[in-house]
């Protein structure tokens, strides 16, 4: 932090305080409560709770459905962000090449277009809805070709595609802006050194894009938990046969449909630890690739 930008440390405190209060109220308090509840057996229709130690964990961890949901979550967490970032990266590399050496005006024009993509992503959820969207006619040609209602794999692919589609506009903007900050002369130097366009992507552009790639990966990871819930709830409701029941959705079903509040709290704690470990791993990775431009 730059020293002396504001007159005193209290100014900083006053500026940061509102956001800290919000984060505390809506993140740390619920997280703390989840930890607390995971140690108690809560009666669904009131009547007090009973301290049971780690019994809830033992129960959840011996449940096969939990492990299935965790496995699906892990697959989803790897596949969706990789695709969302891979595709965005290719689009950004192409756009960057098109924008190189052109006037700044075109640069400005691209932003609103890219932002508009976000709303397209929302529409997509409906368009690819297997029962209302574009796959319905396909099914008439080849019955059963695409039936996420019956086929678990189709259903899983649907939410992966929706999740990826949703993430692309934002990732694209972040990655493109990162590419645009690579100085023209660095690219020219690589051209003079004989590097082909593909070689420059691997040797120059992607390494110089690591901060942006890291940011998009962290946000995509968190997104696979936060945003995926909405997609599953509107598109598949966890089905068919639990094929799209990721941990986050299972928690919701267990807690609010089956009224297993203690089980839901326990799984929340486990999911939280899971995400924390993933993000911590990414931060460790980030330390190895840090450099000054």
């Amino acid at each position: 932090m730059q020293k002396g930008f504001y007159s005193g440390r209290w100014t900083y405190a006053a500026l940061v305080a509102p956001i800290l209060v919000l984060i505390f109220l809506f993140f740390y308090v619920p997280v703390g409560l989840a930890f607390f509840w995971s140690l108690f057996l809560e009666r669904p229709f009131g009547g007090g709770s009973q301290f049971v130690g780690l019994d809830n964990f033992a129960r959840v961890l011996s449940d096969a459905e939990f492990w299935d949901a965790l496995k699906r979550t892990a697959i989803f967490m790897i596949v969706a962000p990789s695709l969302a970032i891979g595709i965005s990266l290719m689009l950004a590399l192409a756009a960057d090449r098109g924008l190189r050496g052109s006037s700044a005006a075109r640069n400005i024009i691209i932003w609103p277009k890219a932002v508009a993509g976000a709303s397209i992503g929302v529409v997509f959820v409906f368009v690819f809805n297997p029962f209302l969207g574009i796959f319905a006619p396909l099914n008439e040609i080849w019955p059963g070709f695409w039936n996420p209602r019956i086929d678990g794999t189709d259903a899983f692919i649907t939410i992966v595609v929706a999740q990826v589609w949703n993430g692309i506009p934002f990732n694209f903007i972040i990655l493109l802006s990162g590419l645009q900050t690579i100085p023209d002369t660095v690219t020219k130097a690589a051209v003079m050194d004989g590097a082909s366009p593909w070689r420059r992507v691997w040797d120059i552009q992607i390494p110089l894009l690591t901060p942006q790639l890291f940011l998009t990966f962290v946000l995509e990871f968190v997104g696979t938990v936060v945003e995926a819930f909405g997609l599953i709830d509107t598109m598949t409701e966890g089905g068919p046969g639990g094929a799209t029941t990721l941990l986050i959705y299972k928690i919701y079903v267990d807690g609010f449909k089956a009224y297993d509040l203690s089980g839901a709290a326990t799984q929340t704690v486990i999911l939280m630890l899971f995400v924390l470990i993933m993000v911590a791993l990414q931060f460790r990775l980030e330390k190895h690739v840090k450099y000054e431009r």
């Binding site: 130097a189 051209v191 003079m192 050194d193 004989g194 120059i204 110089l208 450099y291 000054e292």
Partner: protein
């Protein structure tokens, strides 16, 4: 000498309607140090990039040695380039930066390291090979950029204002080193700058560009002593040459108000040029009034106003006591006059 000559043949480039480089034809001598000098925006970098292959020509031809190169990609032209802001790869070590071209070309290890070490030795970078660019000073970064350029033993070395990001003292040191480097390596060197001191000290020949055209392409000596146009005259020298509109007749040159400035056989209107250090102050000649004085140690620079209102810069030997408002007498010696055509700006050769 292993440098190839560069032949430019009606090289033309425009961005949009106005030409940035306007049909330039010239030959840059093999193994010579050519400086392209001109004001900012006159097309120097564009011309250099076209030689390098980073910018396509609209028309014209470029030959390097015997090969026509205007349609070849940069890597096949045998050129290497040093950029103004160094353009180092920030994520690679010094060794990685210098060796990148070799790596791309498929030169294998021990050989690659050996050549990187050799290039680093030439620019005195030993011991820094493991550092990142962010851990180096400006001067060291510039050395890395130069090492990266010479490691492939190019036949043509291109520099785009390589010294303008360095402070004055470093710049002087780097000038001497570049000059020595050029003698050791012997590659044809093209050096772009807007700094006339760099041009005059480094160049075998200077190409002065103005608005995409060559104003003069000659040795530093010729450019200083026989400027080909009033643009060159006003661009070279610190302070630059005084340029005064005069009319010649009856063996003398006069200002509009009739003041007789110098003896010269030219008839009709002309631009009279005279360098500040060639004006003598004495008791013969015409009167002027001192308006400003600066003591610069080695000499005193004064600005004086002539009877017609024109201002003239004069460099006088130290020890002459002049103060603002003093009236002095100037003499323009006949053999130090330059005359230019008022319409075209071109030098007029007086019989």
């Amino acid at each position: 000498m292993r440098g190839d000559a560069i032949h430019l043949d009606a090289v033309t480039k425009s961005f949009g309607a106005t030409p940035v480089i306007d049909a330039i034809t010239a030959t840059l001598g093999g193994g010579e140090f050519t400086v392209i000098l001109g004001p900012s925006g006159c097309g120097k970098s564009t011309l250099l990039n076209m030689i390098a292959g980073l910018e396509r020509l609209n028309s014209g031809k470029i030959r390097i040695g015997v090969r026509e190169v205007q349609d070849l990609p940069p890597k096949d032209r045998g050129c290497a380039m040093v950029f103004q802001n160094y353009a180092l790869y920030p994520h690679m070590t010094v060794e990685g930066n210098i060796g990148y071209a070799l790596k791309v070309a498929g030169v294998r290890q021990p050989e690659r390291s050996r050549r990187v070490a050799e290039a680093a030795r030439v620019v005195e970078l030993g011991g820094l090979l493991d550092r990142r660019p962010s851990e180096l000073s400006g001067g060291q970064r510039q050395r890395v950029a130069i090492a990266r350029a010479i490691v492939r033993e190019p036949r043509v070395l291109l520099f785009d204002e390589p010294l303008s990001n360095l402070d004055a003292k470093l710049r002087h040191g780097m000038r001497m080193e570049l000059s020595q480097l050029h003698r050791t390596i012997g590659a044809t060197t093209v050096f772009v700058t807007h700094d006339q001191v760099e041009a005059m000290t480094l160049a075998d020949k200077v190409m002065i560009l103005n608005k995409g055209r060559i104003e003069q392409f000659d040795t530093p000596h010729a450019i200083y002593y026989r400027p080909a146009s009033s643009f060159v005259a006003g661009f070279i020298g610190a302070p630059p040459m005084n340029l005064l509109p005069v009319t010649g007749g009856g063996g003398v040159l006069r200002l509009d108000d009739g003041t007789e400035l110098a003896r010269n056989p030219h008839e009709g209107p002309a631009i009279l040029g005279i360098r500040p250090e060639k004006i003598s102050i004495g008791d013969k000649g015409f009167a002027a009034r001192v308006v400003y004085r600066e003591d610069l140690g080695s000499h005193t620079a004064i600005v004086a106003r002539l009877s017609g209102g024109q201002e003239v810069q004069v460099a006088t030997p130290i020890g002459m006591h002049l103060d603002p408002a003093d009236t002095i007498t100037f003499d323009f010696p006949q053999d130090h006059l330059h005359l230019f055509d008022p319409a075209t700006g071109l030098r007029l050769e007086t019989p």
